[in-house]
């Protein structure tokens, strides 16, 4: 077998028992690995009644067939049920952890149960050992990583939670390597609920591929393709993801003050260009990645990685904060504490608007970077107002009787693109299986960046079809485990070719899309059983009824009704958004 290591192990932390998980060739072909295989295994182990923070909940770490092989081969995926949204959820991360996990001889690890005291898993060629982590509990992610490297091997790779995960913050992240985050959906809280502090992986096995020469040849073609693409070859390499700050602001859809405005007058002061001029130290890359979009940075007081575009926004425009140093240090602290920066900043912005409207008594004003910094700490440790914010913006706004001020979908806080300026992205937000997320389908590519080509961002025509296509291909990419940025430069046929050269099988571009569709629909089935439906495939009322007053997206609203029915029809779902029987049969679910 090439591409896969052929072994997934389930470990019950309550009993310490380990057993192999049966995965046959057909299952691998239909779900690949990562997100797809994770969702499939999850639905076999748990159901819609499973409490995300209970010991019954499964937490699945998976690599994919391309992990450890070609471009950007360091990725892995975590799958579980989200405590933030209650949807099925997966979260992806780069770095080297995925490759290191696979070199232990495992495609993945399924964790169930709950340890009676803090533990970590040491995964090597010899198997999995459950080790005491009492001495690590309470440490931040970087101290945890260093301690674990010191006591195991400097060659190991570590994924861990910080205090936020230990304290069950509903948007706690799992952090790996240096500041890489499986950030969204609160899977760090699931890890904390199991008393699982970290995974340390250190293997020596090789991942074999079916056609090494062919893969090398394709790799050089892909390198050039990446290099020639204006996004992957220039913008991301030179300025990192924060290159988007000025671009999105110029389009009048850079969410400002909890999405009340689409233009941030101080955007330039915390842009990719400004980062390059001030705090930038070096580029950083995931395993075998030619793009190297990461930024090693340094402020007066600290150093670390980032901030990425979404984090610059979350602690900048969203809160009307224009202090790049404060933004950067808030980002560093989120990484150390194990917090999702998007949900964290978005939720603080919600609190600021709640205060301004008089709903929230405790003062927290726009632009107050000092208060922002303090709140990041308080959220992670569930202290004072921080404990309320640790539940996410939906619960916070509901508590203060202003649910419309929470900028979320299905409970997950929205990222840094105002949907009023991009109709396709708006539909992608609304129909996302894990909530308010830009990664299920990144329509910003064609609607703003012209990748693979421009489509009219204000038009709804054809958007449902393109959203479905992007959702499906993204589900495939998260399952084969390829960096999302490669989607700017490559299409389905090339993804199939990569997979064929690695596995020796015969995937086609059509099968790539069909695998993605199967995964997306399986996720939807879980969500439907959990009570999600058309009522949840929507956006906060602000986007449907309040026009932006300035900038290049002024006087625009999201026209969701023009797209949603067609989206359901294309998906083979009924009018409530539930997959039809014939759809399941067609997709072999």
């Amino acid at each position: 077998m090439h591409g896969w290591m052929g072994k997934v192990v389930k470990i019950d932390l309550s009993t310490g028992k380990q057993e192999p998980v049966e995965i046959d060739d057909d299952l691998r072909r239909r779900y690949l690995g990562g997100r797809g295989l994770g969702v499939k295994l999850y639905t076999q182990l748990c159901d819609e009644k499973t409490d995300p923070l209970s010991e019954e909940n499964a937490l699945i770490f998976l690599t994919g067939p391309l992990t450890g092989t070609v471009l950007t081969g360091g990725r892995y995926q975590i799958v579980s049920r989200s405590p933030l949204t209650s949807t099925i959820c997966d979260s992806s991360s780069g770095g080297t952890f995925g490759e290191a996990l696979k070199r232990t001889g495992l495609d993945g690890i399924v964790v169930v149960g709950k340890a009676d005291k803090p533990v970590y898993l040491l995964v090597t060629d010899d198997g999995i050992q459950v080790k005491d982590a009492a001495h690590l509990w309470g440490k931040d992610t970087q101290a945890t990583k260093q301690a674990l490297l010191d006591e195991t091997s400097s060659k190991a790779s570590v994924a861990s939670i910080g205090p936020a995960g230990e304290n069950r913050v509903l948007f706690a992240a799992v952090m790996n390597d240096k500041d890489r985050a499986a950030g969204r959906g609160g899977l760090g809280a699931v890890m904390g609920s199991k008393n699982l502090k970290a995974l340390v992986v250190n293997g020596t096995r090789n991942v074999t591929v079916a056609d090494p020469e062919g893969l090398k040849e394709l790799g050089s073609v892909l390198d050039r393709l990446v290099d020639k693409n204006p996004v992957t070859g220039k913008s991301l390499q030179v300025l990192g993801t924060s290159v988007l700050v000025n671009v999105i602001n110029a389009h009048g859809m850079y969410p400002t003050e909890n999405f009340r405005r689409g233009v941030f007058n101080d955007a330039e002061g915390a842009s990719g260009e400004k980062i390059a001029e001030t705090i930038f130290k070096a580029r950083s890359a995931c395993y075998r990645c030619p793009i190297a979009c990461g930024r090693a940075t340094q402020t007066t007081n600290a150093e670390g990685e980032g901030p990425e575009y979404e984090s610059v926004w979350a602690f900048g425009a969203q809160l009307a904060v224009n202090d790049l140093m404060a933004i950067t240090e808030a980002n560093y602290r989120c990484n150390q504490l194990g917090l999702d920066t998007i949900s964290c900043g978005n939720t603080i912005g919600c609190a600021m608007e709640l205060f301004e409207t008089g709903a929230l008594p405790e003062k927290i004003a726009w632009g107050d970077s000092g208060r922002m910094t303090q709140l990041v700490e308080d959220i992670a440790y569930q202290r004072g107002l921080g404990a309320e914010l640790a539940q996410g913006s939906r619960r916070l706004s509901e508590k203060y009787k202003r649910p419309e001020l929470s900028m979320q979908v299905k409970g997950m806080e929205l990222p840094a693109y105002d949907p009023r300026g991009v109709q396709g992205q708006a539909l992608a937000y609304a129909t996302s299986n894990r909530g308010g997320c830009h990664m299920r389908a990144y329509l910003i590519g064609p609607e703003i960046l012209g990748q693979p080509c421009f489509i009219d961002r204000f038009s709804t025509a054809g958007k449902a079809e393109i959203v479905v296509l992007f959702q499906d291909i993204s589900a495939f990419v998260d399952s084969a485990l390829i960096c999302r940025f490669l989607q700017f430069a490559m299409g389905a046929d090339t993804f199939a070719r990569m997979l064929n050269l690695v596995t020796g099988l015969d995937f086609s571009g059509e099968e790539v899309v069909s695998i993605g569709k199967r995964i997306y629909t399986l996720e939807r089935i879980f969500n439907t059983k959990a009570g999600f439906g058309r009522k949840d495939d929507t956006l906060p009322p602000r986007f449907l009824s309040e026009e932006l007053e300035e900038g290049a997206s002024r006087n625009r609203l999201v026209k969701l009704d023009e797209m949603l029915d067609q989206y359901y029809r294309l998906r083979g779902w009924d009018q409530n958004g539930a997959p039809k029987e014939e759809t399941l049969k067609d997709l072999r679910i």
């Binding site: 050089s220 073609v221 393709l225 080509c453 489509i455 009219d456 299409g491 389905a492």
Partner: protein, 275 residues
């Protein structure tokens, strides 16, 4: 766009003409042309021999440019350059017309210039680059007519080094002028499958682009939702008048393009400053 991936690849002249491109880029170009079955590689004359050597035994043709990119050398020198390129293995020649002569209405001179290259390249086809960004519609029509009269087998829009590249309005006009039996090559600014689709729809039979691989990558997304990708666009976005800039064009030509906006059938429907 009723076209297969193979047909699309077969219309592409895989192009590398930058002055700073070294041998490595030409090797990559030829390798990609074979891998993706492009029609030809389009290179500067200095790389015709190397390209021929690299593509020996394949179906990919070598095309060399001549008088590139300004077209402002004497006809005898263009002819010598073409002869040399053919001797080095070029099987198609893309020559740049003397744009100044065309604008001066020195039509005999233009025709002689083209004929000299056609004769020197025999029996291989010659494409005449008109550099449409510097021409009025009437001049484009005349340039096409003179090219056909002089024995060219293709007319071609642009060098890629001018004020702007191929627009479907110009391609449509060229196709209408030369009829179905002469090739029309659109080149310059064709960076993705939608750009390709626009000029093919307007009548292009060949595409000159350095983004051939990216175009095919895009095609593999296009094929899953063709209608959605090709929803009607705001015509101003792809109109040469919209892209005419005063700092890139002679004053008279800039004024010409902007005047066209004022008589455009779309004027009432679209605000020029939309988006």
């Amino acid at each position: 766009m009723e076209i297969t991936r193979e047909e699309l690849a077969g219309m592409i002249d895989h192009t590398e003409l930058k002055s700073h491109s070294g041998e490595k880029k030409i090797r990559n170009l030829c390798s990609e042309a074979k891998t993706f079955s492009f029609y030809c590689v389009c290179v500067n004359p200095i790389y015709a021999a190397l390209s021929s050597q690299l593509l020996e035994g394949s179906d990919v043709v070598v095309c060399s440019v001549v008088g590139f990119p300004l077209g402002s050398i004497p006809s005898r020198m263009k002819a010598r350059e073409a002869q040399g390129a053919v001797a080095d293995g070029a099987r198609e020649i893309d020559m740049v017309v003397h744009v100044g002569a065309l604008k001066d209405k020195k039509y005999d001179s233009v025709k002689d210039d083209i004929r000299a290259v056609v004769d020197a390249s025999q029996p291989h086809p010659v494409k005449v680059i008109l550099e449409t960004c510097y021409l009025t519609d009437d001049e484009i029509v005349k340039g096409c007519e003179l090219s056909v009269e002089a024995g060219a087998r293709f007319v071609k829009t642009s060098t890629g080094f001018g004020a702007f590249g191929a627009f479907e309005d110009h391609v449509r006009l060229m196709r209408k002028t030369v009829g179905p039996d002469i090739g029309v090559k659109a080149s310059g600014g064709i960076m993705n499958f939608k750009d390709a689709w626009r000029v093919i729809r307007a009548g292009a039979s060949r595409l000159g682009t350095s983004a051939g691989v990216a175009i095919l990558e895009g095609y593999s997304l296009y094929k899953f939702a063709p209608a959605a990708w090709l929803e009607p666009e705001i015509p101003c976005h792809n109109c040469p008048s919209r892209h005419a800039k005063l700092d890139k064009l002679p004053k008279s030509l800039y004024t010409y393009y902007k005047k066209k906006c004022l008589t455009c059938e779309h004027l009432e429907t679209y605000n020029l400053f939309y988006d």
